[in-house]
């Protein structure tokens, strides 16, 4: 029985348990000699349903987690017995082959009969395991439901019990976010540590050459694989810098106009229009950059006699800047609106014009918040992927010329990890090291930005 069906069956049983529990509560309440029930009948039903579903579902989940490795080791026992001692890598390769056989992907090549036997054994074991799981889970559900509904008494504090369980579930859901962060840190960190065992940390952080192609054969020329992240980082900062050079003036001036000059009507129309820019998927921007902006810039370059790469940093940065405009503008808008009106009035009272008030009073007052929002925008620009994947280059050039092609951290992660690769080569592990770098940089920017913004808010509250 497929696990999905089993889960649905358990849920159906639990629904039935709800009705049974409720019915029993009603029956108890309607008895002539009945004491007053502690909770409303629905709560007795819910209690029965929870007891029916939760233990059984827990068994299903744990069983599924445990079954896969256990079954694999059982099935592989015959293979390892024949092949003798295998290194972990070889064993993993064989296990993968067997999994492919189990999934029915034979790829037409001849199949090792030993592995085929193991795969057949695995399928057989899996069937037995699934049947056993179904029997165990359904019996648990039935027994638990029966026991609970038999114990329904007027004095059973069903509501409190149900509410406690729900509160535990709510608490678990809220800790989910922490687990996601831990998951990110661990998954990126583990692979990075494996990478740094093969490539020294200092080479990665300070190396000036990035060419992750590893030699396939020992006698191959020119692809020794060097992992110096400096050119990649430089490219990232170049493109982000161009993006910020667009986004900050446009975004900030838009925010100032919207919050200080524009009438309410103009505001209600223009603000959502600007937000559309933020809602357009990044892949669309990437397409726009590669197909419209990059050729445009190249043609301009040809006309003015400059040599412009067709994957210039300028095109990617420009489009990325456009994407970030609404981000800067809506954040700064909030910040500027938070400056107390009394400060504006004071400035007007001294005879300052509106623009002088903005320049000498409002912006200095809002500066921490604006800096915070710009930092958040920078972290967006650094982490932005699709625009640079589609419009920036692949080769890591260490250059500050915006007309040349540069590459970024995110581009490298995508090119290293998309497509078929073995998972243990430094080439793929390098992607995780870059991911760690990206995570740390953006996290630092966010923490600083959030701290700055919060400090600023406190000042005027």
């Amino acid at each position: 029985m497929p696990p999905m069906l089993l889960i649905l069956l358990v849920l159906a049983l639990s629904a039935a348990a709800y009705w049974q529990g409720r019915r029993r509560a009603f029956a108890l309440a309607l008895r002539p000699s009945a004491a007053k029930m502690h909770s409303r009948p629905g709560y007795y039903g819910m209690l029965t349903a929870l007891w029916c579903a939760l233990p059984s579902l827990m068994i299903v989940v744990l069983w599924q987690l445990a079954a896969e490795p256990l079954l694999t080791s059982f099935a592989m026992k015959s293979v390892t017995a024949v092949k003798g001692d295998l290194s972990p890598d070889q064993l993993n390769l064989l296990i993968n082959d067997m999994r492919n056989l189990v999934a029915g992907n034979t790829f037409g090549s001849e199949v090792d009969p030993l592995l085929q036997a193991a795969a057949d054994q695995y399928i057989g074991l899996l069937r037995i395991s699934n049947i056993a799981l179904a029997v165990v889970a359904l019996t648990t559900a039935l027994i638990a439901a029966y026991l609970v509904q038999a114990r329904i008494r007027p004095t059973l504090r069903a509501r409190n019990l149900v509410e406690n369980v729900i509160e535990v579930i709510l608490t678990l859901c809220s800790t989910f976010a922490v687990f996601i962060t831990i998951g990110i840190v661990l998954s990126v960190l583990f692979e990075s540590i494996r990478f740094f065992q093969q490539v020294p940390f200092s080479d990665f952080l300070f190396g000036l050459k990035w060419s992750p192609q590893m030699a396939m054969r020992a006698d191959q020329v020119g692809s020794s694989g060097s992992f110096g992240a400096v050119p990649v980082l430089a490219g990232t900062f170049l493109i982000s810098g161009i993006a910020m050079a667009i986004a900050v003036p446009f975004g900030l001036m838009s925010a100032i106009y919207l919050s200080e000059y524009a009438g309410p009507k103009f505001r209600t129309i223009v603000k959502p229009l600007l937000e559309i820019l933020a809602g357009v998927p990044t892949v669309v921007y990437g397409f726009f950059a590669a197909l419209v902006v990059a050729p445009l810039i190249r043609d301009l370059g040809v006309r003015t006699g400059l040599s412009v790469s067709s994957e210039s940093a300028l095109a990617a940065g420009l489009v990325m800047g456009i994407m970030i405009i609404p981000f800067v503008s809506s954040l700064s808008d909030d910040v500027i609106n938070a400056v107390p009106q009394s400060m504006r009035d004071g400035s007007y009272g001294l005879g300052a014009t509106k623009s002088e008030t903005i320049k000498y009073v409002i912006i200095p007052a809002a500066l921490p918040g604006i800096v915070g929002s710009i930092l958040l925008a920078v972290s967006r620009a650094i982490g932005e992927t699709m625009i640079v994947v589609m419009a920036a280059g692949l080769a890591a050039n260490l250059t500050a010329n915006p007309l040349q092609a540069v590459t970024t951290v995110t581009v490298q992660i995508v090119t290293l990890l998309v497509g078929d690769q073995e998972f243990d080569s430094p080439k793929t592990l390098a992607a995780f090291a870059l991911g760690l770098l990206l995570f740390v940089v953006t996290l630092a920017l966010n923490v600083i930005a959030l701290y700055v913004v919060r400090k600023y808010r406190e000042e005027y509250e």
């Binding site: 999934a103 509410e163 509160e167 579930i169 709510l170 608490t171 859901c173 809220s174 800790t175 989910f176 976010a177 922490v178 996601i180 962060t181 998951g183 990110i184 998954s187 990126v188 446009f250 001036m253 100032i256 106009y257 000059y261 223009v270 229009l273 600007l274 820019l277 809602g279 998927p281 892949v283 669309v284 921007y285 990437g286 397409f287 726009f288 197909l291 456009i322 405009i325 014009t353 623009s355 002088e356 967006r380 650094i382 982490g383 932005e384 992927t385 699709m386 994947v389 589609m390 995110t410 992660i413 995508v414 990890l417 998309v418 991911g435 990206l438 995570f439 953006t442 966010n446 959030l450």
Partner: protein, 433 residues
């Protein structure tokens, strides 16, 4: 007032009073004021111009993809070619070729004939096969049938390949143009609504490529995301807003959620690759895994929106419920949640819209594979609309450019619908207390 000032200064014989000094600079300051204001307006106008340019260029490139050039052929279902016993493997391309040659009796040389056969897409043979398989009584008859033209012919008919460039610089030769004109003169070539685009999966041949596969993949992925992220997000928000004690742990959770919302999406892809694929051995390229990754990404958005929505329910309602004897849980589930629900739904729709447009993390978990079949379940290999756009944007064929733009138009339309429904929900159900 000014006159009085002036008199005073002349009497004291001081050259300038404060007011005069102000007045001297006033014109300049007003000019500056106007300039500043103009800068602000210019920033907004140019931002909006970017938007118009973006949408305009995509619309201009993409609208032609909703039409597809088709050619009318008189196909003779030759019983010699179609062996009734083995209909599946009969030589359908030869039927198509014969029908094309029949239109151009003047074409004689082998080379020209080969070129001539290329004006019809190889989808035509599949179409004939389908027709014959479902209606074997067609064998022996002749029938006029509209078939798809090749993508280069399509591009030429739509005007994307201009006539006036030298023959060596375009993919359609002068001979082919002559044939196309001949067909056009007899009304045998026509642009019709492109149903293939909405009913087919991906294909290497532009004229046969459609977005159905990607759209279904997007749907499955979003379903997984919605089913997981909405309940978990709402539950987390309820706990943090209503139950959580103020302590270190709660602070940590809150900081975490805020940071997660700002982590680059590609990092979530790395997590998905390391945890879901390599550690848990879930199927590669499956929409299930895509949905899981997007769940992690949208969760913070939903939690933040739901908390804001819960916060906006006035405490008086909570207190009234508690006052008439409801338990805390009852006050929340009977009163606060229903009142906060529109805001939560709005946040969820916005989160879903972002998830629908997300590409980068899905590249990491292998949803970039070339998949022809339309996915039927959560574990089938699938791709999603934005990834399809990325894949097509990388294809060299000219015809894929318009298809990419058309797919973008479809995606933007869906996003617009989602956001519009979020705005509608907010306006219709949001209460100001």
């Amino acid at each position: 007032m000014r006159a009085a000032c002036y008199e005073e200064t002349t009497m004291n014989e001081k050259p300038l009073s404060t007011m005069d000094r102000v007045n001297v600079g006033l014109a300049k300051r007003y000019r500056k004021e106007r300039r500043f204001r103009l800068f602000g307006l210019a920033a907004i106008v140019s931002s909006l111009m970017f938007l118009v340019l973006l949408l305009g260029s995509i619309g201009a490139k993409g609208w032609t993809a909703f039409q597809q050039t088709q050619i009318l052929l008189d196909v003779h279902f030759d019983p010699v070619v179609l062996d009734v016993g083995n209909l599946a493997n009969a030589n359908y391309p030869s039927l198509v070729r014969e029908a094309v040659y029949q239109q151009f009796p003047q074409v004689g040389s082998r080379e020209d004939k080969r070129l001539l056969a290329k004006i019809v897409s190889n989808a035509a043979a599949f179409k004939l096969q389908e027709m014959v398989m479902s209606k074997p009584e067609l064998i022996g008859t002749s029938k006029p049938i509209w078939v798809l033209a090749d993508d280069e012919v399509d591009m030429f008919v739509k005007g994307h390949i201009p006539r006036d460039v030298p023959e060596s610089e375009r993919r359609v030769s002068d001979k082919m143009i002559g044939w196309i004109d001949q067909l056009a003169a007899t009304g045998r070539i026509e642009k019709k609504f492109n149903t293939t685009f909405f009913t087919a999966g991906d294909s290497r041949e532009p004229e046969q490529a459609g977005i159905r596969g990607a759209a279904m993949g997007s749907m499955f992925t979003l379903m997984v995301t919605l089913v997981l992220s909405f309940p978990i997000g709402v539950a987390a928000a309820v706990y943090l807003e209503e139950f959580a004690p103020r302590n270190r742990w709660t602070d940590l959770v809150e900081v975490n959620i805020n940071n997660l919302a700002a982590i680059p999406s590609i990092v979530f892809g790395l997590l998905g690759l390391a945890v879901f694929l390599n550690f848990m051995n879930l199927p590669r390229s499956a929409s299930l895994v895509g949905g899981l990754v997007l769940t992690l990404m949208t969760l913070p958005t939903i939690i933040i929106a739901s908390r804001a929505s819960l916060k906006s329910v006035p405490p008086s309602i909570r207190e009234a419920a508690l006052g008439v004897g409801a338990s805390k849980m009852q006050a929340i589930s009977h009163h606060i949640l229903p009142l906060a629900m529109p805001g939560m739904m709005t946040g969820t729709i916005i989160g879903m819209a972002r998830a629908l447009g997300e590409t980068a993390p899905l590249l990491m978990i292998g949803m970039v594979a070339f998949i022809v079949d339309v996915p039927q379940s959560f574990s089938d290999p699938a791709t999603v609309l934005p990834v399809q756009i990325y894949l097509w944007a990388d294809s060299p064929e000219r015809a894929f450019v318009e298809r990419t733009s058309a797919a973008i138009m479809v995606l933007l339309f869906v996003l617009l619908l989602m956001n519009a429904s979020a705005v509608f929900l907010r306006n219709k159900f949001e209460r100001r207390w």
